[in-house]
Each structure stands twice: as C-alpha cells, then as structure tokens.
Symmetry: C2
Subunit: 116 residues, 2 copies
C-alpha cells in the first residue's frame, strides 16, 4: 500500500480530472457509494454522480480554482467554470475522503443561470 | 495595536455576527470599500453590502457551519442556513482580509429556491 493522499490532494486531482473532461479519471476518486448533496437534492452512488457531472464537464470551456483548503479527512474548494451556457458559474464542494476516494460531497452552485 | 486576527478568525467572527442577526457587529468586519462578487453581480462598498445581506440575515431561523479553512490572508467557508422561505440554503464565501476586515468576497449560493 502506498501513501494515503490527503483529502485536499484527492479533491485537487479529482477537480483537475473532471474540469479537464477526463471523467474516467475523475471517477477513480469517487467512492462507489458516494453520497452527494447537490442543489437539486441528494445523489447516491457513483453512476448517478457521473450522470450528474459528466454532461456539464463535457461543455466546459474553462475552469479556474479560486481557493482550496483541507486536512486529512475533508477538503473545501471554490472554483469558477465557463461554458457556452454560462460564462461564469462558480461552484464550491466540501468533500469527505476515505482511502483516497470521495465518500461524501456537499456540492454548491447557483442553478438560476442554468434554469433560464 | 493589538494582534492582527487571521483571515479565518475574521471570517468566523463575521459569520457568527450576521447569522446571529447582529449586523452592526458583522459590519465591523467589513471594509468600507469591500468588493463582493455575488450571484447577481458585483456589490461595491459597505452600505451596498449591508443592503444585500441584512434582509436575509433578519429572516434566519438557523445557521450551521459546514467547513471553514483559511490562512493569513484568505478564508473559505461553507455553511447552511434556514429561513422561512428556504429550509436549507447553503452558502460559501471566499474572503480576502486586510487589517481585520473583509476587503473582497466571492459569495456563492443557489438563487433558484429564492426565485421561485
């Protein structure tokens, strides 16, 4: 067994993957039984999580990390994203990590620009 | 001159004040020339910032800090709020602090439940 990465390390690697449109790699950081509390409600399981994130990931034209902090178990990141639908759509995620994978995510973004 | 508080210390004191409906105290942590990038656009100056936050602060029935991190200059917090209009309205703020006051804030929440 290699070194266990910190929660922040996992959050940053996951972020780089999904904003880089590499969802296969992003999912290597997501636990099979992930629970994600997102603006529209709870998402349970890796398949549902991928179905939630992949369509948005595919449309990205840019992403910038605003701030990222964490400790051994949890990380908190805020970033901005750009896509054809919404030029600036910031997000924030507070993730809990175990064994190198995200087991819980509180996922926050403003749905209003996407609802218009 | 006393010790300069960390950005995280300021962010936590400010959070406790505004979620405790003590906007006078909350404003002691806000720079006169604060710039805040909020979902609806940029807010400039302490008076405009207070006008943005005070109506929501007054309706709160609860608030819980989810995670808070920071260093000397910046802090990143995520919290949940409850109010009669929206039972769970999480927010995230990335604040830059100078001389004990927030000079810049990236303020994120989901406007959709409030727009309905």
């Amino acid at each position: 067994m290699g070194e266990t990465p910190t929660a922040l390390g996992v959050a940053l690697a996951y972020h780089a993957a999904w904003t880089g449109k590499d969802m296969d790699r992003a999912m290597t950081y997501i636990a099979d039984d992930i629970v994600c509390d997102a603006p529209a409600g709870r998402i349970e399981g890796a398949a549902a999580y991928r179905a939630f994130l992949e369509p948005f990931s595919g449309t990205l034209t840019g992403a910038t990390m605003i701030a990222a902090y964490g400790d051994e178990q949890r990380a908190l990141v805020m970033y901005d994203t750009a896509s054809p639908r919404v030029a600036s759509a910031p997000g924030a995620e507070c993730v809990t990590v175990a064994d190198g994978r995200i087991t819980y995510s509180r996922f926050l973004f403003d749905r209003l620009p996407f609802a218009r």
